[in-house]
Amino acid sequence: MRHAYTWGAIVIIVLVSTAGDVLLARAMKTVGDVGMLYRRTGLWTVVARILTNPFFLLGLTAMAVAFFGLLFALSWGDVSLVAPACASLTFVGNAFAAKLFLHEHVDRRRWTAVALVACGVALLAA
């Protein structure tokens, strides 16, 4: 039963953190190339443009929730399961979400990279 709770927490953390990354990526694609904007309009305009983007604020909130959720889960869950599972599954979740919601072209090269990194992170964090 305790195992089921731990996996439940892992799934929720992975989903929220994936949502956060996708929202932040979406926000920054709407804002546009920051380097080019900076040269054209200056730092404060760029910062204001990012901070007033609703996707950015939603993404930041999701990242904060995922972060505190992870701290909470680590306080009662098995650290050697929660930490690597969350880190590596977030890579896989992000690849699916980026393809689905951001319409990124995830080719065989990128799938291979994601799979290798996810396995590697799981091994490192375990």
Binding site: L24, M28, F91, N94, H105, A113, V117, A122, L124
Partner: protein, 146 residues
Amino acid sequence: MSFRKYLVLAGVVVFASVGDSMLARGMQQVAHIPLRHLAELIRAIGNPWVVGGIVLLLAFFAAYMTALSWADLTYVLPATSIGYVLLALIAKFALHEHVTPGRWLGILLITAGVGFVAGGPVLTPAPFHEKFEQSEAEAVSAGEKS
């Protein structure tokens, strides 16, 4: 991809792993103080390692947002995962932690994954993004002429 953009990706990697290490070191020092009162919590934030860690993690976030403004999420995340390798090497050589064969295998897999994604395209050519960049480039060149 320009040299400046490689610098931003390197910033994502270095700021995150060094920031995390500093925060971990600071919090280990602070852990001796029982965090019952708000004043003691504020003292924890006053620890120079914690302050340094927070500043570096803010720098990481700025670099990460910059990278996402011109590269795909499925490029930035695997490419910057080399930071995990950097953290393991810091643990091995600076903190003298033992790195098990399983962790060395993990380092190998991550490095291979980074090599795979780094050889590929940085950005999916999305119509709205291309159009946006084009109009920005025109605006920049018009600004330079005037």
